[in-house]
């Protein structure tokens, strides 16, 4: 298995009394697998993903359990080694394309930043690699986009840039935290399509976090349903959507507006 999560528990301590956000969550992620992580806001799905990406704040936070990746427990890994993985083996794309890119920095520099941190290449090689990846995410005239600023691109273009920046080091795991929620329906479809092709071509495992069940049903192999920090159901996507066991899962599936065209 590529990634093993065992009894992961996360507690917040910044308010007066500790608040458990995630409680003994266990699951595994295989090479090349697209695993859905579904739940409403406050269900702990993002917290779990951030724990894997090593982006949880250092203080006021008690974490227990194990996240095993290449025989290393990411929860207890020293900061420098963790940084060695981030952007190289494990990459992340976020929900708000508008704010996830640094507004005052050119696109090119942001895309090639992971190269700068994890590979020693000449500036020219980095540029070529970045442009190659911008083309790979179907951005036409990648050279112009390389030089431009985030506010000069549309939402869809920006999300493609995020994907290019994440994939540039050919990571083993890509964490996608609600990547299409803020996009228009048509653009959403193209991004989903791109993610699926990237998964097939580069064999990257994708942890897809979303609250949109119809989307999850269409693209994930397996799915995990979370409620208030617990996993209520997990397993093969088609089986769960065919006959959900847990009541909460049933309620979620029922909430998807049905369109019966008889």
């Amino acid at each position: 298995m590529l990634l093993e999560v065992k009894d992961l528990t996360i507690e917040f301590h910044d308010h007066d009394r500790p608040e458990t956000v995630v409680e003994n969550v266990s699951f595994s992620l295989d090479k090349g697998e697209i695993l859905g992580l579904v739940g409403e806001s406050g269900s702990g799905k993002s917290m779990t993903a951030m724990a894997i990406a090593g982006l949880l704040p250092r203080k006021k936070m008690k974490k227990s359990g194990e996240i095993i990746f290449e025989e290393k427990n990411l929860l207890t890994l020293p900061r420098n080694d963790l940084r060695g993985l981030q952007g190289d083996e494990i990459a992340v794309i976020f929900q708000e394309p508008m704010t996830a890119l640094n507004p005052t920095m050119r696109i090119g520099r942001q895309v090639e930043e992971a190269l700068l941190l994890h590979r020693n290449m000449t500036a020219q090689d980095r540029k070529n690699r970045a442009i190659k990846y911008l083309k790979a995410v179907e951005l036409d005239d990648a050279e112009r986009i390389y030089e431009s600023y985030p506010h000069e691109l549309s939402g869809g273009q920006r999300q493609r840039v995020m994907i290019a920046a994440a994939m540039i080091n050919r990571p083993k795991i890509l964490i996608a935290d609600e990547p299409t929620t803020a996009l228009d329906v048509t653009v959403q479809a193209q991004i989903i399509d791109l993610l699926q092709r990237t998964n097939k071509k580069l064999g990257v495992a994708i942890l897809f976090i979303s609250h949109d069940l119809s989307l999850i049903s269409r693209i994930t192999h397996n799915v995990i349903v979370m409620q208030n920090g617990h996993i209520v159901e997990q397993g093969n996507t088609d089986e769960i959507f065919a006959n959900p066991q847990n009541d909460y899962t049933k309620k979620l599936i029922a909430a998807i507006p049905k369109v019966e065209l008889n």
Partner: protein, 317 residues
């Protein structure tokens, strides 16, 4: 793009015109008469009238103002009533003093406040931050001239690091000139530093919550790398506005500092020419200060665009 600047410069000129008119009319209200100030106690009505005619003060107010504007446009700012030296040469002599003082204090402010501001933000919400904050607040509350007096006493008279009142003109020796201005510049810079640090710390903390910082961390950047490569540039935006206004504030504030350290800069020229009712000099100095203030506005605008490309297209926030 350029029509934006064209409109901006046009409005700056309009502002200058209004200021010059206000100054002109201010002297219609303030009592005292330059001719009398020149003639002193043995002035007689005839002699005053003769001198007023010589100074052109006998013409009606609006005519004089119009004449003055025309002359200014031609670059001739008239001669000083008290020293009959062309105003421009007199101010030209004093300008380097005030400019050096301003540049020294502003550069000190920038050099000291950026690293300190970031450090305070980095260790935010810990004891160092609280102590740093109280020190910051205290320094901000000290008036520049009180600081000036303290410095003159401690560094001048006790430690003899500099000769109080020992201003050396740049004509005599440049190192001596700059050497003397260092202490007054520190007196000006310190309160400004405290304010910059406070603003920068707040800006850095605000930016640190933004999404792109999380993305930067996700790529494996260390805290320092995130701070200097990503956050600083964005955090500088509010600081640039403050520094723009600070320059205008420093020039106005230099009136008091020049008094404490006995520096014959623009501040002193303004004060003495106001009390001598030396209209041409006062007009020129105030216009110069207004130009600098208004230019600072323009420079801040340009800096804005350099730092924040989003502003380039739409109207500044």
């Amino acid at each position: 793009m350029n029509n934006y600047y064209f409109k901006k410069i046009l409005s700056l000129l309009a502002t200058l015109l209004v200021i010059s008119f206000l100054v002109f009319s201010a002297f219609e209200i303030i009592p005292g008469d330059p001719a009398l100030s020149r003639l002193g106690t043995n002035a007689t009505p005839e002699r005053i009238a003769a001198l007023r005619a010589e100074m052109g003060l006998d013409k009606p107010f609006l005519f004089r103002y119009f004449l003055w504007v025309v002359e200014c446009v031609k670059g001739n700012f008239g001669t000083s009533y008290s020293y009959n030296v062309p105003v421009m040469s007199m101010i030209g002599e004093k300008l380097p003093i005030t400019i050096t003082l301003t540049l020294l204090s502003m550069s000190m402010t920038m050099i000291i406040s950026v690293p300190l501001g970031i450090a305070l933000a980095k260790y935010a919400h810990r004891t160092f931050d609280k102590v740093g904050f109280i020190a910051n607040q205290t320094i901000m509350s000290v008036p520049a001239f009180f600081l000036g007096i303290l410095f003159t006493y401690i560094f001048g008279l006790v430690l003899h690091w500099f000769k109080p009142g020992g201003y050396i003109s740049y004509k005599q020796s440049i190192p001596g000139f700059i050497g003397f201005l260092i202490v007054p510049a520190i007196a000006i810079a310190i309160p400004k530093c405290a304010m910059s640090i406070k603003l920068l710390r707040a800006a850095v903390l605000q930016e640190a919550d933004k999404d792109y910082v999380r993305t930067a961390y996700s790529r494996g950047n260390s805290t320092m790398q995130v701070m200097y490569r990503h956050v600083l540039k964005n955090a500088l935006i509010p600081l640039v506005t403050f520094w723009g206004m600070a320059v205008a504030d420093v020039i106005a504030g230099s009136i008091v500092i020049e008094q404490v350290f006995n520096i014959p800069g623009l501040g002193r020229v303004l004060l003495t020419s106001i009390s001598n009712r030396d209209y041409p000099v006062v007009e020129a100095v105030i216009l110069l200060i207004a130009v600098v203030v208004v230019l600072m506005d323009l420079v801040t605008d340009i800096l804005y665009r350099r730092i924040d490309p989003r502003v380039r297209r739409n109207e500044k926030g």
